[in-house]
Amino acid sequence: MKSRHKRLAFIVAGLAGLGGVAALVLNAFSDNMVFFFSPTQVFAKESPEGRNFRLGGLVEKGTIKREDDGLTVHFVVTDNHKNINVTYTGILPDLFKEGQGVVAQGRIGPDGVFLAEEVLAKHDENYMPPEVKEALDKGKADSIKAKANSAAAGTSATGTTTLISQ
């Protein structure tokens, strides 16, 4: 074995070992590396109690209510399983709207309402022109309508309805 082969073997073994260590460490810390907790996690008591944490999810449609002062806003954060009521006073980011991803920092008050001190908007990795988005939404609405129609027509099996809607 030449000395450079030895060095190469040493480096490869070192990197493999290091990778293994990193994987184990990250695995051990994975609970502490989350940026936010979902409502389901909060209900499962996985979020820290009695101190601030971040709550993440979608703003439930039709739940945004603004108070008369124009700054205080109430809304519901959902992950489609569990819901948590949130109250926030302050300026919201531009992307904040119904159905949009949101990360709120704060704590759960005695009445079970999450009192947010900071609200951040989370957007997804989809980028498209507005016209495409409209077309997509229209297509979705049409397929929902078609589903509703076929359901009304008495086709109960879901398999059939999806076939029709397509």
């Binding site: 951040l120 989370k122 980028y127 988005k133």
Partner: protein, 254 residues
């Protein structure tokens, strides 16, 4: 010379000698400069005029055309740099170490650019300049790794020892690259997931993708140009006591 010059039959290792690589790099620079311009001009045109506004973020998303290529290059350059540093460690070839140190400042610059443009993008969209989520934090660690690599090299006077010590640092830091890349997948982060992956179709409009790829190639070509420029300086500096540098310099002076 303690170099591996690949015997008489194959001259594969010929250009691993700084003396042979110096003129070759000089010849490559103009071509890669032209390539960089050829990608930058249409890249910027596509980014600003052809790509449509986004349905959610309007015009503000256009910072992506700097942010994403910069972030990609910051990771890619690190891997290339660490590979060169590792080669220098294994083969004792001085040119590999010089290439590694020539790439480091550009990698650090792209990392900084990715973080800075990310902050500028984050403020209007998320509502925060900076958050300590896994993606942002691991990218910040990458910046520290680059700075550490550069400073460690600068701190040790003897070039061979400097190259060896910084190579080990660079190789250890490679662990961070998959962490940056997969951070948005492994943990829930404020940063959105990847739009362009190997496994599925890109989740962006075709003209946006074109702009993004053009800008990426532009950054890539730019990186090659500045790395070659820098490695030429590095070669001259480290080989300044040799005959050929003395000859090359007097030749150029005439």
């Amino acid at each position: 010379m303690p170099l591996y010059i690949g015997g008489t039959k194959i001259n594969w290792f010929k250009y691993s000698s700084p003396q042979a690589f110096y003129p070759l790099a000089g010849k490559m620079i103009p071509w890669f400069t032209i390539a960089a311009l050829l990608f930058t001009v249409p890249g910027l045109y596509f980014s600003f005029f052809v790509a449509p506004p986004d349905y959610q973020q309007g015009e503000a998303y256009r910072i992506m055309f700097i942010h994403v290529p910069a972030a990609w290059m910051s990771m890619f350059i690190y891997v290339v740099m660490a590979a060169y540093a590792g080669m220098g460690l294994v083969f004792n070839s001085r040119l590999s170490s010089m290439m590694a140190s020539a790439l480091a400042p550009t990698g650090a610059m792209f990392t900084f650019l990715a973080l800075w443009t990310g902050a500028l993008w984050g403020k209007p969209m998320w509502g925060a300049w900076w958050v300590w989520d896994a993606r942002l934090t691991s990218e910040l660690i990458l910046l520290f790794l680059y700075i550490g690599f550069i400073s460690l090299q600068a701190a040790i006077d003897e070039p061979r020892r400097a190259a060896r010590a910084s190579a080990i640092l660079a190789l250890v830091g490679v662990v961070n690259i998959p962490i940056i890349y997969f951070s948005v997948k492994w943990w829930n982060t404020l940063h959105q997931g990847a739009s362009i992956t190997v496994s599925k179709a890109p989740t962006m409009a075709a003209s946006m993708l074109t702009a993004l790829l053009l800008m990426t190639f532009a950054f890539w070509m730019y990186t090659i140009v500045v790395a070659l420029l820098r490695v030429r300086c590095e070669i001259l500096e480290r080989e300044r006591h040799t005959e050929w540098v003395a000859q090359a310099m007097t030749g150029e002076a005439r």
